[in-house]
């Protein structure tokens, strides 16, 4: 594949020399010995192990805590590139919140015929319980991760919006911490914008979204499904960094019309709950009755203005992959201007014409489940075998509405430190956004995920992906 297709390398560009953002880093790199880099790289792994930065892998009882491989070569973005991205992200996130408010109220966008009604009506992510309710500040999605891919110097696309519970922000922070420990000299040499303010910004943003009933200094807590959840490290990291309690469902109960946590001194009301528990498990009285992870009665308290849940229940309707294909229309409808960030061309297999095209060109396309995530259940056509293609074709024909398809993108590459030295690998980028009544804040940086296997386009950590520190340069 790599013989035929041209990939944009973010360090090397078109091959005529290093691109400008990497000039200073490259100069440093030229003075470095690959052996030393390998040694330092091993130190990084020891650092991650000691710190306990791990994720839990489901279905692997033997080695439940694993490290996400970290690559020591940073991904560098210029101030100009970043400013453009931030404008696009800001616009998109405003549209997402406006869309959510509309969908749970008058549904003007459907009345205007810009999206089909059955996109919402038949969608599991749509929660009727949210209809007619307005969360504080009309903010539904407080914490957003926008997945971006790049195909050329000025070509950025949104691959996915994560409006429910975007994960990975702890890696953004720990990767930077690791780089600061391993290569302190680089940071005095190169002006890299800081990401460390994220936890403070998050706490401020959450506190600012507290319901009217809250005291002047609102009580914030992080709700985790528990120590066995794959992202438990991140939950405890964020609670720790924000200086708030990390709670589980069994720490909480409804007391006097508030959701309260069991402390050593009795029950204390919570004003804002940053929940990392899915909608379905949030309230056994309203949703999945078997859930042990949530709080019985929290939805009633929420609707009565007794607590802010971040992100709001029902935000999943905005990051559904079927909705994604309408994002250009959605952005334009609510902001009155064309979308600054491009969508990847998307074929909805629910539409007969598109389905026919997809079946015809399966080996060139990436096919994803509408409700899937984590890189599970997707087909990368160019990398699939004949029998895999045939099997997927059968699934597609059986349930076309379950899938969307996109062309295989020529994802940009950034070098990693491979055994023989630097070698290009495909990357994506997830910047993190905090939305509060005070405004929208995009942390200058993000999580760069990298497909460690040569030629692979799948960057998910559950599928052999690693991460890199992401540098946004000062102007």
């Amino acid at each position: 594949m790599s013989d035929r297709v041209y990939f944009f390398d973010e360090m090397g560009g078109d091959g005529s020399g290093r691109r400008a953002p990497y000039a200073e880093y490259g100069a440093w790199l030229d003075g470095e010995d690959v052996q030393r880099l390998h040694r330092v790289s091993q130190e990084a792994e020891a650092f991650f192990r000691r710190t306990g930065i791990t994720f839990n892998v489901y279905g692997e009882p033997g080695a439940t805590e694993r490290l996400i491989p970290f690559d020591v070569v940073p991904r560098i973005i210029t101030a100009r590139e970043w400013d453009r991205l931030v404008k696009g992200i800001d616009q998109r996130v405003r549209a997402l919140n406006a869309f959510l408010h509309d969908i749970y109220h008058r549904q003007e966008i459907i009345r205007a015929g810009r999206i089909p009604a059955d996109l919402i009506a038949g969608n599991e992510a749509y929660l009727p319980e949210m209809a007619g309710f307005s969360p504080p500040g009309d903010i539904y999605t407080h914490i957003v991760g926008v997945d971006l891919v790049r195909t050329g110097p000025d070509e950025f696309f949104v691959l996915e919006d994560n409006a429910r519970t975007p994960s990975g922000v702890s890696y953004m922070l720990e990767n930077r911490e690791t780089m600061l420990q391993l290569f302190p000299e680089l940071f005095s040499r190169i002006p890299v914008r800081q990401v460390q303010k994220y936890p403070a910004m998050l706490r401020r943003g959450l506190a600012a979204s507290a319901p009217g009933i809250a005291a002047p200094d609102p009580v914030v807590a992080v709700l985790t499904p528990g120590i066995h959840n794959s992202a438990y490290y991140e939950h405890s990291f964020l609670a720790d960094q924000m200086g708030v309690e990390l709670v589980e469902g069994h720490d909480l109960r409804v007391v006097d019309g508030r959701v309260a946590m069991r402390t050593t001194q009795g029950y204390t009301p919570i004003d804002v709950l940053y929940r990392r528990v899915d909608d379905a498990f949030l309230d056994p009285l309203t949703f999945n009755p078997k859930s042990m992870l949530g709080v019985p009665g929290i939805m009633d308290i929420y609707r009565a203005g007794g607590i802010t849940i971040a992100n709001a229940p029902g935000t999943g309707i905005a990051d559904d992959k079927a909705i994604y294909s309408y994002m250009p229309e959605i952005v334009e409808f609510y902001t009155g201007e064309p979308a600054r960030l491009k969508n990847v061309e998307t074929y909805r297999c629910s539409e007969p014409g598109s389905l026919a095209y997809v079946l015809e060109n399966l080996s060139d396309l990436v096919v994803k489940e509408v409700h899937g995530s984590g890189g599970y259940g997707m087909l990368v056509g160019p990398a699939a075998s004949k029998s895999e293609l045939a099997a997927f074709e059968a699934k597609l024909r059986a349930k076309p509405g379950n899938y969307i398809a996109q062309p295989t993108l020529a994802l940009s590459t950034v070098p990693i430190l491979a055994e023989q030295g630097l070698s290009p690998r495909h990357v994506d980028l997830r910047p993190y956004v905090i939305v509060s009544p005070q405004g929208i804040d995009v942390t200058p940086g993000g999580l760069t995920r990298v497909a460690l296997r040569e030629g692979s386009l799948v960057v998910n950590s559950s599928q052999g992906g690693g991460t890199k520190d992401t540098w946004v340069l000062e102007d």
């Binding site: 192990r49 000691r50 710190t51 306990g52 120590i227 438990y232 405890s236 990291f237 609670a239 720790d240 708030v244 309690e245 990390l246 709670v247 589980e248 069994h250 720490d251 946590m261 069991r262 402390t263 050593t264 001194q265 009795g266």
Partner: protein, 313 residues
Amino acid sequence: MLGKTAGGLYWMFRYLERAENTARLVDAGFRIALTHSSVAADEWKSIVSTTGENASFRQRHERYTSENVVDFLLRDISHPYSVMSMIEAARMNARLVRTALTREVWEATNECCMALRTTLGEQIADRDLPRALQTIRQQSALVRGALHGTMLRNDIFNFARIGTYIERAESTARILDVKYYVLLPSISHVGSSLDNVQWETILRSVSAATAYRQVHGSQPRARTIADFLIFSRQLPRSLIFSRARIAANLAHLAKDYGMDTASNDFSRTVNTRLDALHIDDVFDHGLHEFLQDFIQENNTLGARIEQDYRFNG
């Protein structure tokens, strides 16, 4: 602080303390097995008895050889009270209460666990045992050092310390109880010197052999050993010392929270009683009975603390 967090801290430090105590017991047993091979099996058996785990030992092994006991007490992960199992449990609790710990305490605990997974990962030959025990001692000292050096002196610290001392009080009482017969006047007359082996195990098990000599000279006597381990206010592993530390931490909590508790009340009552006792009273009442009562009280105290501070609901 969350009740669950208080409970997690309490148990984390109980497990760490117990792991350390178990390692110390193994160390004492090993010394005696080396120097007095004729009594080795009996000593190993009494060490397993001290941990209260004879039945589960018998399920796994027939004979009380040093190999079997060391394996059982240090590295058997199917045995929930082996050092390795307890360090894993301590780490699990540390993950649970990660937000209450400083980075230093968490990392020391995590590193302790990683180091012991390596050290205790394979069967330990006799010649490697001192080094393995040294690693356990060192790693747990690092956790303790991080705790004392980096944690705020607040409720978090109090619950950690209460867990430590509840465990320690029980451990010292058990060590004395398993050996109480050698301290009885009927066997070793008041004032007579004890069998070398026996007192050495007792004192080594609480890391107090040198301390004892400093305070009471080189001639060990039953009454003074019992007195030292029960009533010494200088010995950090004595019963009265542990009780005083629990009381001090409970008092700090009561003041901090502006809320007195049943456990604080109970602690004051039993301490007043203990303070008024003399070693003669203990022997008059019966050492074994005294220790049984003490262990019972200690369990009650632990259970009341658990309830008062809502560890579980």
